[in-house]
């Protein structure tokens, strides 16, 4: 190859690398996604079973299915988070939570821009007609359709706690089959005995659906104990940990054990400082205690 050709190829490679670098720098912050699995799950995955190739494959397939469930929920329409530039203009995703742990990013704009914002002319028009596209906020398909997906996910990767929890939520709230949800969660607990997420989910099922506070309380206690064992809790674990305190306090309150409820809420406030609902329930319980015993201003643990 002639020298000038080599130089040209070299220059083209450098230009391409620079171009790719420029794009990746722009894309990286905009597309930062939350981790599919928590620290505990990953810890278990890497320690409880050998990270064989098959194991990797199972984890990847499971993660792929998780992404697919989001795709199916939106009928194939792709959504994206707002970019940093869009955020500086005040654009924010609306919180779009269909409940449980199926929180997902469809509060942002569609990936394919609407006609008035699209600079691509005929290509944009073609894409809007050839790909799943609907302007405006996301509309979901029937979440019940996703239940089998989560079942398969847990078959492929039994350590996928979020799949267990989300599926149980869908079974309870959409399929109206709480018994099946309970059985599914118990199966999850068998595979993940140290998961605060699953203990909390079972406790909440007893609490919400059957009002069986006696059965709910030990579950929340296990969730709290499991949560405490984890040094760095991920988002889902942190939420479950906080909710366990919240609902444990509520369960005590429902049983009339206001002192225990207040003690729990107070501990919860200390452990989960960001959980405002615990703060609310603390105030409610404290008010109830004050109303029931106006002369008693001493707190349950004896502190003033």
């Amino acid at each position: 190859m002639r020298l000038w050709k080599k130089l040209l190829v070299g220059a083209a490679c450098i230009a391409l690398a620079a171009f790719a670098g420029m794009l990746s720098r722009k894309v990286e912050p905009a597309l930062a996604t939350t981790a599919g699995f928590g620290g505990e799950e990953l810890h278990h995955a890497s320690h409880s079973m050998p990270m064989t190739l098959l194991g990797q494959f199972r984890t990847n397939l499971d993660a792929y299915l998780w992404l697919k469930t989001i795709d199916y929920l939106h009928n194939g329409i792709a959504y994206r988070p707002y970019t940093t530039v869009e955020r500086t203009k005040g654009m924010r995703e609306h919180e779009h939570d269909i409940g449980g742990f199926a929180k997902h990013p469809c509060g942002g704009p569609t990936l394919i821009p609407p006609k008035e914002k699209d600079w691509r002319g005929v290509f944009g028009e073609l894409e809007r007609n050839l790909q799943p596209y609907r302007p405006g906020p996301a509309r979901h398909s029937d979440p019940q359709e996703l239940i089998p997906w989560y079942r398969i996910q847990t078959m492929i990767n039994p350590l996928d706690v979020n799949a267990y929890a989300t599926c149980a939520f869908f079974l309870t709230d959409f399929a109206k089959e709480p018994e099946k949800a309970l059985a599914f969660l118990e199966e999850g607990i068998e595979k993940n005995p140290h998961s605060p997420v699953l203990h909390q989910a079972i406790g909440q099922l007893y609490f919400d659906k059957w009002k069986r506070y006696d059965q709910a309380i030990p579950c929340f206690q296990k969730a709290i104990a499991a949560g405490k064992e984890i040094q760095v809790r991920d988002e889902a674990q942190e939420k479950a940990f906080g909710d366990a305190y919240l609902f444990l306090a509520r369960a005590y309150r429902e049983r009339g054990e206001l002192d225990a409820a207040l003690r729990t809420a107070k501990e919860g406030m200390a452990e989960c400082a960001t959980n405002n609902l615990i703060r609310v329930i603390y105030r409610v319980i404290k008010k109830e205690i004050d109303e029931n015993s106006p002369s008693n201003t001493t707190e349950p643990n004896g502190q003033q």
Binding site: M1, R2, L3, K6
Partner: protein, 249 residues
């Protein structure tokens, strides 16, 4: 007499890769082959024989000069439609049988389906490949492949045969068959232009010899002239060694 094959001041220069100098493969080569002639094109290795033949077939393009075949520009469809060509290294689709490859070339030659079904068995027989029609070419020896190459070259009864290293890989029987084919062509007034290292074969086949070296025509002599040079050269080989003796052939 009408020239069938003609080059005028033909020059082919290969550009070397960076840091390497240009290679002049053919340098101011002018030759002329008339209708009905059988001309041997000989020269030492690297003399420019194959390059010249490739120019005549349109595989490479001259840096300067002209090349005409049958009165048409070398490599043109008109020229190729009346020319049979045997490449130096005969490689054919190994996944095909002899019959299939001849059918393929026949179709490309523009021969009709019915005509081909009559022609192919005849060609196979003439090339001495009877009994091997259904054998895949990957199982053929070099000599057998050369026979396939010869069969495809003479397909369609071309007016001009251009054969590069024609005797390569052929056994004595194959050479005899080849001689018979070429004699038949000559007897029918066709033109044959071939290169070969087998000088004894050249002597047996051709009317005239063009000797080239370093891309230039060194000498042109009829076989009669060579044979008449009694005392000086007893054979074509002696003549060749005398003229380009410094080269390894």
């Amino acid at each position: 007499m009408r020239p069938v094959l003609e080059t005028e001041h033909l020059r082919v220069v290969f550009k070397g890769s960076s840091g390497q100098k240009k290679i002049v493969a053919v340098d101011d080569l002018s030759l002329r082959v008339n209708q009905g002639e059988v001309v041997g094109f000989i020269g030492p290795n690297g003399a420019g024989k194959t390059t010249t033949i490739k120019v005549l077939m349109g595989f490479i393009f001259p840096t300067s000069g002209k090349a005409k075949v049958l009165g048409y520009e070398a490599g043109s469809k008109m020229a190729k439609s009346r020319t049979g060509y045997l490449p130096e290294v005969a490689l054919y689709y190994p996944f095909m049988t002899a019959e299939e490859i001849l059918r393929l070339y026949g179709r490309l030659q523009g021969i009709g389906k019915k005509e081909l079904s009559e022609l192919i068995p005849r060609l196979i027989s003439r090339a001495g490949l009877s009994g091997f029609e259904q054998l895949r070419l990957k199982n053929f020896s070099r000599g057998m492949l050369q026979r396939v190459g010869l069969a495809q070259a003479i397909m369609g009864d071309p007016d001009l045969l251009v054969l590069d290293e024609v005797t390569s890989g052929l056994d004595p029987v194959g050479r005899r068959d080849l001689r018979n084919i070429l004699k038949d062509f000559r007897s029918r007034g066709k033109t044959v232009f071939f290169s070969s290292h087998e000088l004894s074969e050249v002597a047996k086949l051709c009317d005239r010899v063009i000797l080239i070296d370093e891309g230039r025509v060194i000498q042109e002599k009829s076989m009669q002239e060579i044979l008449e040079m009694e005392g000086k050269q007893g054979s074509l080989e002696d003549y060749f060694v005398e003229v380009v003796g410094h080269k390894v052939t």
